[in-house]
């Protein structure tokens, strides 16, 4: 495998597969032709890898010709959410075995007497204490006794434990005890998956770190088996290239790293979409963009600012109220339970609500005719004429307009005294504001002005709602990439190798121990370079990014500030403080220039740059008129945006570079439909993206 080359100079295929809950999307880049081929198959839960191979076949490609296989998978997140992980033990500091169950004690649903808090992945009986202790400075208060750990390992063996997570207090400051315990347990339990918290997070907060390492252990055996199965199937289909896995940062790591640190692949699909957006921005020369991804059950938003994706430092898997925190760097993606399958209902008092309940893929919207009875966002779009009933999924699936209309009349429009079209339009408008609010959470709430951004919309339902969401936020430009239903797979094709590190070190900026900082940065950088070397069969260009989490003295929550490493080497306190003040001001609307600040965490990312696929540009159109792509005209209801209009329907496959359209219009493609409102102007750019200009009203 390691003989493959990552550079695009040698020919071969680059295959990306995004295995989602419903569909497996495959994108294949052919370095000879510069073309991308696509495949979509239903995900086969019983054998994900076989399904993927099928998808590759559908894209007309063969693993035997591939040099590089980039893989994003929901296997890790599903194992977590469906609680199908291993029998796991948590070994922890004496006095703290319940931290994982106690959590942060909060009740986000403050008035709900039937509120439920998070459910630990490790039962209390398998949470074991070790009489060892460090203090916050990393000094040993009670030494670790090897024989005690050995006795614990023997007990866990008897209990039939398959995975062991280790968390000791203050291991972010001094991991020595964790390392020793891990070595002992690994030696005594050679078949178990053993993981220690500092390997994943060297950031303080014992509950969050416990949860992170426990989740890693819990899914570890599952992911390991999956990757072994992948190896087996891939060699069966004569794949001789390199397998790389997508992380929640959107960066890639190799299978060996993925086996140890499986928790880093939780959100690979959504992250890859944001990376795809970043690359699209680079190709067409955009600095700032909102990545807007809408599928069947959720809408998600991420941000590209100055050409770089924004990242977050923690995620709650399973939602804020009862989720499990995972404390690792990842792309900052906000999510709302609004998707094509979101159900519209009347709450008590005839109040119209949309989602978060979803009809999902099964039974799905009423119009799928698979037993769905409650009207959904997709039904509303169909009733407004924005979806063509006979062209859904390339005509493979006919949609039931009458059924959707009946459900809408009986459940929504009748009781509210509205027409079917008014009710459907209302449902879409409510869904759109909910999605606009999720975009605000990654822009306005971060101190960014959404109006300064273009929106890149993808996912099956993204193009259907994009110009509506953009109008709501006064975003003047929307871009619908090629194959928006496969965009995450495309993002995988353009990703880089990446390793991220965080280390907590509390220090006041004024008397910061710069020698220690620089030593830590050097150590982390070396680890990153070694890891990249391990993953890459050849030398890659390396980019190293430094950042610090800072706060004013007295504050708790810190903000991440990117700092040029030169400022650290030069011990430029003023420059670091000024950078922090600027970030605080942008994010929260004020800065305290006179107040002292402190550093909480050091962050370092090492990126091994993989040459990007160079796509062949689209053929140029003979004229701006897109008449050759016109495939019909149908009535579409635009509600307050223009009423009922006869609307031309275009086939995206026949649109060429330079074609220009003015809304209203629908652009139909295999797995998606783009809606243009009256007055919107669409131009097909040289790469085939639909570049839409919107008249926003101030």
């Amino acid at each position: 495998m390691s003989s493959a080359s990552l550079s695009s100079s040698s020919p071969g295929l680059r295959i990306a597969a995004d295995v989602g809950g419903t569909f497996t999307d495959v994108a294949v880049f052919d370095e000879d032709s510069g073309g991308i081929r696509l495949g979509k198959t239903l995900t086969t839960p019983s054998s994900l890898i076989e399904g993927m191979n099928h998808g590759v076949g559908k894209a007309g490609a063969d693993f035997a010709d591939a040099r590089l296989f980039l893989h994003g998978t929901t296997v890790a997140i599903n194992a977590l959410l469906e609680r199908k992980g291993a029998r796991t033990a948590l070994v922890t500091t004496k006095g703290f075995r319940d931290i994982y169950e106690i959590g942060r004690i909060n009740r986000p649903e403050a008035y709900n007497l039937f509120f439920r808090k998070h459910q630990p992945l490790v039962e209390r009986a398998l949470r074991v204490e070790v009489d060892e202790r460090m203090d916050a400075a990393g000094e040993v208060l009670r030494p670790l006794i090897d024989t005690e750990v050995e006795a614990i390992a023997r007990r866990l063996l008897e209990e039939g434990v398959e995975a062991v997570a280790i968390l000791f207090l203050h291991s972010y400051r001094n991991p020595d005890h964790e390392i020793r315990a891990r070595n002992i347990i690994s030696r005594m339990m050679p078949n178990a998956f053993v993981t220690a918290s500092h390997e994943l997070s060297q950031e303080y907060r014992e509950f969050e770190r416990s949860s992170t390492v426990a989740a890693n252990a819990y899914i570890g055996p599952h992911v390991t088996r999956y990757l072994s199965e992948a190896d087996r199937v891939l060699s069966g289909v004569k794949f001789h290239g390199k397998l790389l896995i997508v992380q929640s940062t959107g960066g890639l790591y190799d299978a060996a790293q993925a086996r140890r640190e499986c928790i880093r692949m939780l959100e690979s699909g959504p992250a890859a979409g944001v990376i795809g957006t970043r690359e699209l921005c680079a190709v067409i020369g955009l600095r700032n963009a909102i990545a807007f991804d809408m599928g069947g059950t959720t809408a998600k938003a991420g941000v590209i600012l100055d050409g770089v994706e924004l990242t977050a430092n923690q995620v709650m898997v399973g939602g804020y109220a009862e989720g499990l925190p995972i404390q690792i760097p990842m792309i900052d993606i906000e999510e709302v339970g609004t998707g094509g399958g979101s159900i519209a209902r009347l709450a008590q008092g005839k109040s119209l609500r949309v989602g978060p309940e979803s009809a999902g893929a099964v039974p799905g919207p009423v119009c799928y005719g698979n037993g769905g009875t409650e009207p959904t966002v997709t039904d509303a779009n169909l009733l407004l004429g924005r979806l063509a009933p006979d062209l859904f999924l390339g005509g493979e699936m006919k949609l039931d307009v009458d059924g959707a209309a009946r459900a809408m009349t009986d459940q929504i429009s009748g009781p509210l005294g509205l027409s079917v079209a008014e009710a459907a339009d209302g449902i879409i408008r409510i869904a759109v504001t909910q999605m606009a609010n999720v975009v605000k959470r990654v822009t306005t709430a971060r101190g960014l002005d959404a109006r300064d951004f273009a929106m890149v919309a993808y996912g099956g339902a993204g193009p259907l709602h994009a110009v509506l969401v953009a109008r709501e936020l006064q975003i003047p430009r929307v871009i619908i990439p090629n194959a928006p239903g496969h965009f995450s797979a495309y993002g995988m094709l353009v990703s880089d190798l990446r390793r991220d590190y965080v280390r907590t070190l509390f220090a006041r900026l004024a008397d910061a121990p710069f020698d220690s900082f620089n030593a830590i940065f050097r150590e982390l950088e070396q680890r990153g370079r070694d890891d990249i070397d391990e993953a890459a069969p050849e030398r890659l260009d390396i980019i190293v990014k430094h950042a610090v989490d800072m706060r004013y003295i007295g504050q708790e929550h810190a903000v991440t500030v990117e700092i040029d490493s030169g400022a650290f080497e030069a011990r430029d306190i003023d420059a670091i403080k000024a950078a922090f003040d600027a970030v605080h001001n942008q994010r929260y609307g004020y800065a305290s220039n006179d107040e002292s600040a402190e550093i909480v965490n050091l962050r370092l990312s090492v990126i091994g740059v993989i040459a990007k696929p160079r796509l062949a540009p689209l053929d140029a159109a003979a004229s701006a008129s897109a008449d050759e792509a016109l495939i019909g005209v149908r009535p579409v209801e635009f509600g307050v945006m223009g009423g009922r209009l006869e609307t031309p329907l275009y086939d995206r496959a026949r649109l060429l570079r330079g074609h220009r359209l003015t809304g209203p219009a629908l652009i139909q493609e295999y797995a998606s439909t783009t809606v243009l409102l009256p007055g919107d102007v669409l131009t097909v750019d040289q790469m085939g993206n639909l570049d839409i200009k919107i008249e926003v009203q101030p």
């Binding site: 703290f96 169950e101 509950f207 305290s592």
Partner: protein
């Protein structure tokens, strides 16, 4: 069913409703992220909200439930004080008057008026707990004057210009002025965010649409409340419970009596017979009493319906004469205002248990279980203040479900504990243990949640003040479920363990190397423990939530030689226990002779008793449960 104007447009209403929820969420996040004291950023002891021009709540962020009324009443008081013509764009109105906010002086309440042109159309407000507001540092207070700086209703900014006189008065009266000014800045930024978002909604939808939508939001909430109350059988329901004492007359229980009248879709909560105001600092103002009633009402009617707004309470009448412990009059001490209302909420649930058994919940630990600690930082000898504890406790079981363990009391909502790794990095303390308390949950068919305990050792001397309640008066069960263990405080000084029959353990010096422990109670059980499924008990025992001894004594379980449940013998034992009226409930720690529970013989307990310490140690060492101090 319809009150006031109704909206013609359910879609716009829903969109505006989402807009208000998003705006208050953003205000909350902003304040949490920028605050300077742990009580705001970790404990989230604050609430933000948007209000109409009369001060009625449109939406409040899900922060602190017990402040459900505080901001609205404070805005109304500010309106009365200045008159609508006395408030101008750019003003920042401020007060911490305990008798207006209903709570303690630490709650600095900021509001800004929102103007559309020349018209006052609403308010954005924020209440947050400052770590220090002056006043005495240790011990008990007996009037408001010893509790710190009292700021009447003032303008901290006048038409956009900071009122330096007021700001300098504040700076001079608080112990940590930099922190205070940091929090002030963060609060003003949060209310400004709310103002901005409110105005964006006005611009986008127009004033008429917005006002119509607000009215529909109120109407909708009202309809939900009315539907919900209409399902409760008509009748008069009463319940009684007790607080341990008022912190002055240690051991003299304080009665809490509530009466609830349900008639059709209307509910009246009558708090006339809760105790009169008390000598120690457990009083709160009228607003807190009203809040307690509203919190209980909201939980029982529509706990998940958002935003929290005043429409939801149109069918709730609250009777609360002045002078009770939750409608105290000046100059009653109020520093620990939050404790009693929590038990009032539980007592309202208890009263309605027979009427709506599937909606109510057994009693919870009903205290924040915190201790005020102060000391000096070893590196610079600077004073630090630390709220020890906030450890979460057990919640009551309910119909069909066990209670939650280790969860913050009902006064607070999205309140977090502090990571031990952070506590140890900031203060010269070592958290030795933070764990679930086995057997602390009330036994029942559905078991109450477990309390927690936290042991903290001082690396340098500290002063320790625990103000904890419900040590003696345990969280009760419902429908035959048993009481849980109550809250508790312990000290370990010079290697000796001290236990107290009360949670008021004030002005205690703890030397380097000594330790304190705070324990939270569990939640009460629901239904007879003899009806609990054996599989559930088996798991309880495996996980250590319930000991074998307790499984035997309270659940009637018999174990065989291998430690497995003997199902046949258990059935026999359960029948026998039922016949004998067992297990017996033990609602008061001081009357519980089965384990250590304070002096069972005194009517008036003295704290600390001159010989109590020695006796407690002796009792603990000998394994004899009860001890006597007299």
């Amino acid at each position: 069913m319809t009150h006031g104007r109704t909206s013609q447009d359910p879609v716009t209403t829903e969109i505006i409703r989402n807009g208000f929820i998003a705006a208050t969420e953003e205000m909350k996040t902003n304040l949490m992220r920028t605050a300077y004291n742990m009580i705001i950023y970790e404990a989230l002891d604050f609430t933000v909200g948007l209000f109409d021009q009369h001060g009625n709540t449109i939406s409040i962020g899900l922060g602190l439930p017990m402040f459900i009324r505080g901001m609205s009443e404070t805005i109304k008081a500010k309106l009365r004080h200045f008159g609508p013509d006395g408030i101008h764009p750019g003003d920042v109105l401020l007060t911490n008057d305990a008798y207006t906010t209903g709570s303690h002086l630490n709650h600095m309440t900021f509001s800004v008026p929102i103007f559309d042109g020349a018209d006052l159309i609403g308010f954005s407000a924020c209440m947050a707990h400052w770590q220090d507001i002056g006043g005495t540092l240790d011990g008990m207070t007996t009037d408001i004057f010893s509790e710190g700086l009292q700021l009447p209703i003032v303008k901290a900014w006048r038409a956009g210009v900071p009122n330096e006189d007021i700001l300098s008065v504040i700076r001079m009266n608080v112990r940590l002025p930099e922190r205070a000014m940091g929090d002030l800045k963060a609060q003003v930024a949060a209310v400004r965010t709310g103002e901005k978002r409110f105005l964006e909604l006005v611009r986008k939808y127009g004033r008429f649409a917005l006002e119509t939508a607000i009215e529909s939001i109120f109407d909708h909430a009202e309809a939900v409340s009315r539907d919900s109350v209409a399902q409760i059988p008509d009748g008069t329901y009463q319940a009684e419970s007790f607080m341990d004492d008022d912190g002055i007359d240690i051991g003299r229980r304080i009665p809490i009596r509530v009466k609830i009248i349900v008639a059709g879709d209307q509910m009246t909560i009558d708090l006339t017979d809760v105790s009169t105001q008390v000598k120690g600092f457990y009083n709160s103002g009228q607003t807190a009493g009203l809040s307690a009633a509203q919190v209980a009402f909201k939980c029982l009617t529509a706990g998940l319906e958002l935003p929290v707004n005043d429409g939801a309470f149109r069918n709730l009448k609250i009777v609360l004469p002045s002078g009770t412990v939750v409608s105290a009059e000046r100059p009653a001490p109020m520093r620990w205002w939050m404790t009693y209302p929590m038990t009032i909420v539980d007592t309202i649930f208890k009263a309605l248990a027979s009427a709506v058994p599937t909606r109510v919940i057994a009693a919870h630990h009903a205290d924040l279980v915190i201790a005020s600690i102060n000391g000096r930082q070893p590196r610079d000898n600077k004073l630090y203040l630390y709220l020890g504890g906030l450890i979460g406790g057990g919640w009551g079981a309910k119909h069909g479900e066990d209670g939650m363990s280790a969860t913050v009391a009902i006064n607070d909502g999205d309140t977090h504990n502090g990571p031990s790794e952070q506590v140890e990095a900031k203060f010269p303390l070592i958290v030795e243990r933070y764990a679930l308390r086995e057997d602390s949950g009330g036994a029942g068919k559905f078991r109450g949640g477990l309390g927690t305990e936290q042991v903290v050792r001082a690396r340098h001397p500290i002063m320790f003040n625990a103000q904890i309640e419900r040590v003696d008066c345990r969280p009760w069960g419902l429908f035959g479920g048993l009481s849980a263990l109550g809250n508790e405080v312990r000290l370990e000084r010079g290697g000796e363990l001290e236990r107290f029959p009360t949670g008021k353990v004030l002005s205690q010096k703890i030397e380097a190397g000594d330790a304190y422990t705070v324990c939270s109670g569990g939640g009460g059980g629901y239904g007879s423990p003899l009806d609990r499924k054996l599989d559930d008990i088996e798991n309880d025992v495996r996980q250590g939530y319930v000991s074998k001894a307790a499984a035997h004594e309270f659940y009637g379980v018999v174990f065989d030689g291998q430690g497995r449940i003997d199902r046949q013998a258990t059935a026999l034992r359960r029948t026998d226990m039922r016949r004998r009226g067992l297990p017996k409930d033990r609602p008061f720690s001081t009357e519980d002779h089965s384990g250590w529970g304070g002096c069972p013989y005194c009517t008036k307990l003295i704290q600390p008793h001159p010989e109590g310490r020695a006796m407690a140690i002796e009792a603990a060492a000998s394994g004899v449960g009860a001890w006597r101090c007299c």
